[in-house]
């Protein structure tokens, strides 16, 4: 590499570095605030608010959460179950639909492609969908409500996969398998699907993130606390602590003063929501970036 930089180039390089570092700080700072606040003593938070520089640290919020471990573990369990089952089913039915669409000799290719495409252009809206899911399929307050609506398959991923098959699976491979007497289903499951792992990983990551981060299906379809995933638990606790607080402020009757470190608990709960993503992200970021690029170019 020839490093013959002019003064202007050097100046711009330094400028770019400073701006990016500032932006990185802006990106990360809110996470740090949440993290630090979750370890701040409740009395400090009440007096001084959330701060990057707490005067007194404390583990009270985490002790309190440990006492509620059943709720929290259950919520993690629901989220993990929904994410794994949803993502696995999603990549399977997406690939199964995409592969025939990539085959030029598939008779119904045009009509099915159109049926898939049209769902990207027009939607009936959430009101009819809500009525259908609750009154025909009765998914309200079942685990299916967190898996079925919206996320199980989307047209965009179908086309992404079909494109991948078209560009990466040589026709000669399929033909030679056919000559060897393999049926279409066998070819798909034994040859095509294993070959498409990179693409499956990419759409799997986006689907997995969508399931893990989803709280809207829970908002519409789940009222039973047992079925709250981590996101819906967060939604509910945000409301609930407010309720607790306003309740105790309103009643001057000296009932049992439960010392609930509510200000720090909120942040400790947010940490519980963030940590799994932060841990997993470095492992998936390669596929994530690839997916964004492929999706943008072909979409």
């Amino acid at each position: 590499m020839t490093e013959l930089k002019t003064r202007g180039e050097k100046a711009f390089y330094i400028f770019a570095q400073i701006v990016i570092i500032l932006l990185v700080l802006i990106s990360i700072a809110p996470f740090l605030l949440i993290f630090i606040s979750s370890f701040t003593k409740e009395s400090d938070l009440v007096a001084n608010g959330y701060s990057f520089f707490p005067k007194e640290l404390s583990l009270d919020a985490y002790y309190y959460m440990a006492s509620q471990y059943k709720t929290i573990i259950r919520a993690y369990g629901v989220s993990i179950f929904v994410t794994i089952v949803g993502t696995f089913s999603s990549v399977l039915i997406t690939s199964m639909l995409a592969y025939p669409l990539s085959r030029k000799d598939f008779k119904y290719r045009t009509i099915i492609s159109f049926l898939v495409l049209f769902t990207m252009l027009f939607s009936g809206g959430i009101a009819p969908a809500y009525i259908m899911w609750t009154r025909i399929f009765h998914i309200k307050n079942t685990i299916l409500a967190l898996i079925m609506p919206n996320y199980l398959m989307n047209a965009f991923n179908v086309f992404l996969m079909a494109n991948y098959y078209r560009n990466n699976i040589p026709v000669s491979l399929i033909e030679s398998a056919q000559i060897d007497g393999a049926g279409e289903l066998r070819i798909f499951f034994k040859i095509i699907l294993p070959l498409s792992i990179p693409s499956v990983a990419t759409i799997g990551i986006f689907t997995g993130l969508a399931y893990w981060n989803d709280w809207i299906n829970g908002l519409y379809y789940i009222t039973e606390p047992k079925l709250f995933g981590i996101q819906n638990l967060l939604v509910r606790i945000m409301e609930n602590i407010q309720f607790l607080k306003s309740g105790s402020a309103a009643s001057a009757i000296g009932t049992v003063a439960v010392q609930l470190p509510s200000t720090s608990i909120r942040m400790a709960l947010a940490v519980m929501g963030i940590v799994p993503v932060v841990i997993i992200f470095p492992f998936i970021q390669k596929y994530f970036i690839k997916g964004v690029v492929v999706g943008a170019v072909k979409g």
Binding site: E9, I20, G49, F106, G125, A127, P128, A129, T263, F281
Partner: protein
């Protein structure tokens, strides 16, 4: 080629059925998740009576729409949805392009990957977490802005969650914080595709960094920018429900600047229990969106048919 000795027609028929079988689960899902709700838009023309079941609605023609467009909400939610989207498109694109150019400049640094991960991180967390983040900054009892920043300058505390005038700025900042890193990936890829020889030639001709950006980088990524913008314009009737519902904590005092079509549909359904009106607003959103997306796609196809949706 290998099957030249077989009857090609027979082979095609034979091979279509197993392939069709593969599509069945996906097609069933589309039927349930997409097509039945599409047929369900008829409830926008009915008054729902749940006692009589799903099909027990009474036909009321365009009454739901007439009622909807008489309310102030129709204007507010349409205005908000479109204006926010325009703001997001303009500032989001500008910031993403700038970040992409700067990231490309320092991409050889060892820390570049860490920087990029840090910039993307806000886009992979849920809106619920974002609402907690915003809460840590804005809530009136313990928010960082009231307690630390405003106090330091001697400014009285502001009740953020009850004053709608601040929210266009707040939501813009939240949107940019969450999405710019993600959007910049697309433009970085576009910049990476530019032939390095062009920059070498420009350097020899004495063009400085700034001139290279304006005369090479920006013109070269213009097609990507235009396509991204057009696709966003096609979705201008849609909004991120979480950003407009959960981040402002569903605060009624803020509806004037936080109500979008999506939040209105939710409130009409779950809070007012007015399915007819919710369906009417949803259909209004879908129909206008449908026209816009067709238009956007038509324009994209004129510019660059490879990137058209269809």
């Amino acid at each position: 080629m290998f099957s030249a000795n077989k009857n090609p027609k027979r082979k095609k028929l034979k091979s279509s059925l197993p392939l069709f079988a593969l599509t069945i689960p996906g097609l069933l899902y589309l039927l349930v998740n997409n097509y039945i709700p599409m047929a369900g838009v008829i409830i926008a023309f009915q008054s729902q009576n749940f006692a009589k079941g799903i099909f027990g609605g009474k036909w009321v023609g365009l009454d739901n729409f007439a009622f909807l467009f008489k309310t102030k909400d129709a204007w507010i939610m349409t205005r908000n949805t479109i204006l926010y989207n325009f703001g997001f498109i303009i500032f989001g694109t500008a910031c993403a392009v700038i970040v992409a150019i700067l990231m490309t400049e320092i991409s050889k640094k060892a820390a570049a990957k860490f920087y990029q991960n840090a910039l993307i991180l806000p886009s992979v967390i849920s809106m619920v977490i974002v609402s907690y983040v915003v809460f840590a900054f804005l809530n009136s009892d313990s928010g960082l802005i009231n307690k630390s920043i405003l106090q330091a300058f001697g400014i009285p505390e502001i009740s953020w969650y009850s004053q709608s005038k601040y929210w266009p700025f707040i939501l813009m900042i939240v949107y940019l914080w969450k999405n710019v890193g993600y959007l910049s990936i697309i433009y970085m890829a576009s910049i990476a595709g530019i032939d390095k020889g062009i920059y070498e030639a420009a350097k020899i001709d004495g063009a400085g960094e700034i001139r290279q950006i304006f005369h090479i980088t920006l013109p070269m990524i213009k097609p990507t920018v235009i396509i991204m913008v057009l696709m966003a314009v096609g979705k201008i009737m849609n909004s991120d429900f979480g950003l407009f519902y959960q981040v402002p904590m569903n605060s009624g005092a803020l509806y004037n600047t936080t109500q979008t079509i999506d939040t209105f549909v939710y409130r009409a359904m779950m809070q007012l229990n007015d399915m007819g009106m919710a369906a009417a607003s949803g259909l209004y959103q879908s129909v206008v969106g449908f026209v816009l997306i067709l238009l956007a796609n038509w324009v994209v196809r004129k510019i660059d048919s490879d990137n058209a949706l269809f």
